[in-house]
């Protein structure tokens, strides 16, 4: 709230892509929450299909922002709507749990299900259709690994599995936490290609890499000590 630019409603809604005028924002957050030493206090809107890069130093609250949208952290005050539906409202104690939000979360440490083969990881979501799983396995070059355990995958392969798993449930919001750390060039190219696809959901991409932010994102939001300090196309 300290930054006047953040409070200005024009910031988040400036340029609307044709066809999305009137559609509710995929993410509409205005509120704060405390996790450990960090107090995250953010206003942020993300349009359907928009890719917003979130940058900032360690401890700025980037990961907490993703966890908030995913429903793994609750707001202390304010509210969060996804696609026009209020999923967290601190005043009315309304809270929609993770499994009833349509989000796809790719955490930094991936958290693959080691007890399931790659194909079952990708198809884990009850919302995943066999066609969608097959499509994602092909797009991310995972077909040959389908029967393998995640523990037998390289870092890049595991990252592609994690992205495919998040997308298989056809999320409205995709949350990527440092997806390209420890990623080989080919994996990076495949994931980027998928994200440049017109079909992509609204995406929050947490990254340390300015090149990644500039190259992929429609907008770059900069966080510092839990607050938005920059928001630029």
């Amino acid at each position: 709230m300290s930054d006047p630019r953040v409070d200005a409603p024009t910031i988040a809604t400036t340029v609307l892509a044709p066809g999305t005028v009137g559609a509710p924002p995929a993410v509409d957050l205005a509120g704060h929450t405390s996790v450990g030493d960090l107090t995250l206090d953010v206003r942020l809107k993300v349009r359907p299909g928009e890719l917003v890069a979130v940058v900032g130093p360690n401890g700025a609250g980037k990961t907490t922002l993703l966890r908030l949208v995913a429903g793994l952290v609750a707001l202390d005050a304010g509210s969060l709507s996804l696609g026009g539906r209020v999923v967290d409202d601190a005043t009315s104690s309304g809270f929609v749990t993770s499994h009833r939000r349509r989000v796809g979360w790719v955490p930094q440490d991936r958290l693959l299900f080691d007890h399931l083969p790659v194909a079952a990881n990708v198809g884990f979501s009850p919302r995943a259709t066999p066609e969608r799983v097959a499509h994602l396995l092909a797009e991310l070059d995972l077909v040959d690994l389908a029967d393998r355990r995640p523990t037998d995958c390289s870092g890049g392969q595991a990252q592609r599995v994690a992205v495919a798993r998040a997308l298989a449930g056809a999320p409205d919001v995709l949350l990527l936490d440092e997806p390209s750390t420890a990623l080989d060039a080919e994996s990076r190219r495949r994931i980027y290609h998928l994200l440049e696809d017109g079909e992509r959901p609204a995406t929050l991409l947490v990254t340390h890499d300015p090149g990644e932010a500039a190259g992929l994102a429609d907008r770059v939001v900069e966080l510092a000590t839990g607050q938005v300090v920059g928001d630029a196309p």
Binding site: L72, H99, F124, A166
Partner: protein, 249 residues
């Protein structure tokens, strides 16, 4: 010093194997008292394993996942039997569940149930000493697998019961197996609490360790044979728990 350490651990085993009556082993193990104590031991230890599974899993869950007051105290209480001399455990059980014990008198009066000097009593004694091994193992696994994996499954749209069935339990199975093996081995080797609380009655509470102790007085060869059986069982237990105690590569 490391060599001395290894020697201290290995020497008794070498002694046992070297003195073992290999030629008459079959005959010794086929004797009726031996078979009887084997039957008692298997019954008591297997029932114990079942009880440990049913009681220990929710307990491990609560310790690992539920925020509660006095958790450290509860945890200390759970671990206590691991460091408590078993004979003290047996004495404590006697004062709690014995015929004139704190709870035992009511069991006796209302339900006509008396635990001391029965096979059920031997099970109670074994559960008392074996439960911590299972709880500690499973609790550790629940902590390391963490809520994160379950949170992730939820973001994929899986409701809580599906998460439990498809993520939590399958990931917990190896630890449950290892914990059960440890608890079962501990129950099989239990001596102090059993002899104090359940006595040493042939065919009812005389387990393999009690029979071994008994045999040392009259028939050392039989005692050696029984010891070999218990040693073999202990080695077998290391197989499902090898990831925990032995390097994999």
């Amino acid at each position: 010093m490391a060599v001395v350490g290894i020697t201290v651990l290995a020497l008794p085993l070498v002694g046992l194997v070297q003195r073992a009556p290999w030629t008459s082993l079959g005959d010794l193990l086929g004797r009726r008292p031996v078979l009887e104590s084997l039957r008692v031991s298997l019954t008591v230890s297997l029932v114990t394993a079942g009880v440990v599974l049913v009681l220990g899993t929710p307990l491990a869950w609560v310790l690992a996942r539920v925020e509660m007051p006095f958790r450290r105290l509860v945890r200390a209480l759970v671990v206590l039997p691991m460091v408590l001399p078993p004979v003290v455990g047996g004495t404590a059980l006697l004062f709690a569940l014995g015929r004139r014990g704190l709870v035992g008198q009511w069991l006796d009066r209302w339900f006509d149930v008396a635990l001391p000097f029965t096979m059920a009593g031997a099970v109670v004694a074994a559960v008392f000493v074996a439960l911590p091994f299972y709880v500690v193992t499973v609790e550790g696994a629940l902590r390391t697998t963490g809520d994160e994996m379950e949170g992730l499954a939820a973001t994929l749209g899986a409701p809580p019961l599906t998460v439990l069935r498809r993520v939590t339990l399958p990931r917990l199975v190896p630890a449950m197996g290892a914990g059960l093996a440890l608890a079962w081995a501990r129950a099989l080797g239990e001596f102090g609490a059993t002899i104090t609380f359940a006595g040493n009655l042939p065919g009812r509470t005389r387990t393999l360790p009690l029979a071994t102790f008994q045999a040392m007085e009259s028939d050392p060869e039989a005692a050696l044979a029984l010891s070999l059986v218990l040693l073999a069982v202990s080695l077998a237990v290391l197989i499902p728990t090898r990831n925990r105690w032995l390097p994999t590569r």
